[in-house]
């Protein structure tokens, strides 16, 4: 059982409300869910859609086909009708769309009329549509009614009641009129799972890591992190500050981190461009910071609400001068959660900047997850605080050590002073000019730490045939798409996925020699959502391995599984 529902309409019509509600219901009903969104950079009008898939099997991506199309505007039909499955159905409100189609796939449901009948409020069109979808599927309405009770409880009984009626009206209407519907939904065993999106997972990872300060300037697709963290401000005692610009955002976070709390910022490419000087400051002062960097298609403003993996190389060497950094690029919400936690751990342990490099596709897609593994969450306070600090005889912020890691103390906790400097400095943190100190500081800050940091990096994920002829290599948000493509293609060929979520520094070859593996395979392919193959270049610079064949997409939309399969087929001639 594997159905895809597409909700299409204008910005502001509430397609997200419908999609989110359906997703929640399916999860509570015990299904696996995957959803992603496609929207324009405008607040009202245009054409957006929400693609939602649910199944009794785990899901990792959307599929092209549509079983139920909820068309809130005319364009939804024109654009997406072609994707309808044989038994698929389009539901729409003929009077609202001023359009009528009597074809067997079309089901005219008077959303507006039904909504108005309940409580005279057009807003409830979405609730009616949600009910209608459930009705067509023949899924019991209890779960949605429960959800409505939860969602609207703050708005009073009246609203809850009206919405419940609206659901029922849509539900009944669909059951009655979709007499030819053949959807069969069943679930083997109901297991409770989370339904969670990319940005929330990052925010949750930050909370689980003891992040106490988040300063940012709004920018798609990172704003969701700020919003989610803000909603937990008082519960977690975390401060979320909207900075006057991105320069201030990173500098504030560095100030907070210096003062002793775990700090983070988040942005997208254009905003990060403004943080680059601050990044270098983090490198020089050895101030821990986590930066969530949400990619969208560039250059410049580009396509602000769409997706791309175009900023990997930018991050690899952003900032003047040389200093260590780590870049994680989660491929799933679970990775987003755990890698954010790891980011904090490594940032604090090595006193370096660590990135969570995500993108709009991951940010906005929702996955079902059995759970996040809280036992795996690491929280070690590496700071020198309170009595431990007081007990130090001497304190030097940049004391030379075996590992290059100097004690990071909390200013004010003891009678020692904590001095950090963006100039080259001595062990105490004061400006110097001499060559000898410079050399020792570069060794301390950079050369000694680099090999240690590498030991923290986990090998890439391997999935599929150990002896695969074809290997689909990817990084970051393409995880699910590649995985599903491998599942399909495995039916007809020897294939595997190699996925990197810890992308810089690249994992050592000790535990898993992926380079030898790639050299051995007949058709190693690198798949990226960018035009020039940035990861592929990184791999070559670091290991010498060159992907002769790459699969790139740079139109701002993620690959669909079907597209990727097609691209792979196109290249099989190269074996």
């Amino acid at each position: 059982m594997d159905y895809s529902i597409k909700i299409g309409g204008e910005a502001g019509q509430g397609i997200q409300t419908i999609g989110d509600a359906l997703g929640r219901v399916f999860v509570r009903a015990g299904y696996h869910v995957f959803s992603h969104q496609d929207y324009e950079s405008r607040i009202r009008g245009g054409h957006n859609f929400y693609q939602l898939r649910f199944s009794s099997q785990p899901l990792a991506a959307s599929r092209n086909k549509v079983d139920i199309l909820v068309a809130l505007d005319r364009e939804s039909i024109t654009r997406h009708e072609k994707d309808l499955t044989v038994n698929g159905r389009i539901i729409y409100d003929a009077s609202a769309l001023k359009f009528k189609n009597g074809g067997p796939a079309f089901l005219d449901i008077p959303f507006e009329k039904l909504a108005l009948e309940q409580d005279g409020d057009k807003i409830m069109v979405n609730t009616v549509a949600t009910g209608a979808v459930l009705g067509m599927l023949g899924l019991e309405p209890d779960l949605i009614l429960e959800l409505i009770a939860d969602t609207f409880k703050n708005k009073g009984d009246h609203v809850v009641h009206a919405n419940k009626n609206a659901v029922r009206a849509g539900y009944e209407y669909a059951r009655l009129h979709c007499d030819t519907c053949t959807f069969a939904v069943a679930v083997d065993e109901v297991q409770q799972r989370m339904l969670v999106g990319g940005v929330e997972s990052i925010a949750l990872g930050a909370l689980a890591s003891g992040c106490r300060f988040y300063s940012a300037y709004p920018m798609t697709p990172s704003t969701g992190i700020m919003n989610y963290l803000a909603s937990t401000e008082s519960e977690y005692g975390v401060i979320v500050e909207q900075a006057e610009d991105e320069i201030a955002a990173i500098n504030m976070a560095l100030g907070a981190s210096y003062a002793g709390v775990r700090a983070m910022t988040g942005t997208s490419g254009g905003g990060f461009a403004l943080m680059v000087e601050g990044l270098s400051l983090a490198g020089m002062t050895e101030t821990p910071i986590v930066i969530a960097m949400g990619q969208r298609p560039g250059p410049a403003t580009g396509l602000p609400t769409r997706t791309e993996q175009g900023d990997l190389e930018f991050l690899l060497s952003a900032g003047h001068g040389e200093f260590p950094r780590v870049i994680f690029a989660p491929g799933t919400p679970r990775q987003a959660f755990h890698l954010t936690n790891k980011a904090f751990d490594i940032a604090e342990k090595y006193q370096i900047p660590v990135f969570i490099l995500f993108d709009t596709y991951l940010a906005d897609s929702q996955w079902t997850v059995d759970s996040f593994d809280l036992n795996q969450v690491r929280y070690i306070d590496y700071r020198l605080r309170g009595d431990a600090f007081k007990n130090q005889q001497h304190y030097r912020r940049y004391a030379y050590t075996e590992t290059g890691i100097s004690p990071l103390a909390v200013p004010g906790d003891a009678s020692h002073v904590v001095v950090v400097d963006s100039d080259e400095h001595d062990e105490e943190g004061h400006i110097i000019e001499d060559a000898a100190t410079r050399i020792r500081m570069v060794e301390k800050r950079l050369l000694k730490k680099l090999p240690l940091i590498r030991t923290e990096i986990a090998p890439p994920d391997f999935y599929g045939d150990q002896e695969a002829h074809v290997v689909l290599t990817g990084w970051g948000s393409t995880y699910g798409i590649i995985k599903e493509a491998v599942d399909e293609l495995a039916k007809s060929m020897s294939i595997a996925m190699l996925h990197f979520s810890e992308v810089f520094p690249l994992p050592d070859l000790g535990l898993f020699d992926y380079v030898s593996f790639l050299r051995k395979t007949k058709l190693p392919l690198c798949i990226e959502h960018n035009a020039t193959g940035q990861f592929s270049r990184l791999l070559r610079a670091a290991t010498g391995f060159e992907f002769k064949i790459q699969i790139n997409k740079y139109d701002g939309r993620p690959f669909t599984v079907e597209e990727l399969i097609g691209e792979v087929h196109d290249r099989l001639g190269n074996i």
């Binding site: 999860v27 005692g237 006057e244 320069i247």
Partner: protein, 283 residues
């Protein structure tokens, strides 16, 4: 015992005769008089001659980037609002590169003390005009003279309802110390624009030039009157008022943040068990 020696730092790399020495001395004196220990304060600075000050004294120090001291100071205050935070900066650093942060800091009324060493020039980079450089002043990169209107920090401060806006003169030690102390005890953001002769690059605004012009604002003056303050702020030329131009009692940013009522963030203990409950909301 906290004494002047407590605040001894590196030997300054400033030019002999530079106005910064007097400011440094006043700064240390005030800390001694307030009986603050070096670890009980944090000094934040950017880049420039003025911004080197923290190295020439002792204290927790964040010597950051050119123009970016205020956001760092803001972050420090939000993480630890029990820590007095002072920014030492230059006119280029603060009014030039850092202009946007200055406006934001005033609007926030974050409890940071901002001491601007205003030598009306870029000293460290060898004499380019700063926002406070007088019109007509020539420099290597401006051979025809400055044609932007001179920036008036006091007028900006009054316009942005800055909690505490004052001007002093490096060579008037008593006055400067007095103002620094008032700024330190003021509840909220406090700006002192300190007229500072640069003996090497600013051949116009010399000790002499300032001395002839500055006058102490009369005691009857009411710095709470915003319109009067604006008039006073505009006074610049033959007579330059020094003293508190404008002051109000707006609540500070820190005291308006609910999360800080439980004490400084840095001392609030992290409860790692909460996350489990939060995750429940996603089921």
């Amino acid at each position: 015992m906290i004494a002047l020696g407590t605040y001894k730092g590196q030997t300054p790399a400033w030019c002999p005769g530079c106005g910064n020495f007097a400011i440094l001395k006043a700064f240390k004196d005030v800390l001694v008089e307030l009986q603050l220990e070096p670890h009980q304060i944090t000094v934040v600075s950017g880049i420039g001659q003025a911004a080197k000050l923290p190295h020439y004294t002792r204290g927790n120090t964040f010597n950051g980037l050119h123009g970016r001291a205020l956001p760092v100071a803001t972050g420090i205050r939000l993480a630890n609002h029990a820590m007095p935070v002072i920014v030492t900066t230059g006119d280029g650093d603060c009014y030039g590169e850092g202009g946007n942060h200055l406006m934001a800091a005033m609007r926030r009324n974050i409890n940071v003390k901002l001491f601007v060493h205003d030598n009306q020039i870029y000293g460290l980079t060898k004499g380019q005009p700063s926002p406070t450089t007088g019109e007509g002043t020539k420099a290597k990169n401006v051979p025809f003279g400055v044609i932007s209107e001179q920036f008036n920090p006091m007028a900006l401060a009054v316009a942005l309802d800055c909690g505490f806006a004052a001007r002093s003169f490096a060579a008037d030690t008593a006055h400067l110390k007095g103002l620094m102390k008032e700024a330190m005890v003021h509840k909220g953001f406090a700006l002192i624009d300190i007229l500072q002769p640069c003996v090497t690059f600013n051949k116009v605004n010399t000790y002499e030039w300032y001395r002839k012009r500055v006058y102490h604002i009369e005691p009857e003056y009411d710095p709470a009157d915003r319109i009067a303050a604006f008039s006073r702020a505009l006074e610049w030329g033959d007579r330059i008022p020094i003293g508190i131009i404008y002051r109000n009692n707006r609540p500070t940013f820190e005291e308006r943040i609910p999360m800080l009522t439980a004490g400084p963030l840095v001392h609030q203990v992290f409860d790692s068990s909460k996350i489990e409950r939060t995750l429940q909301e996603f089921y």
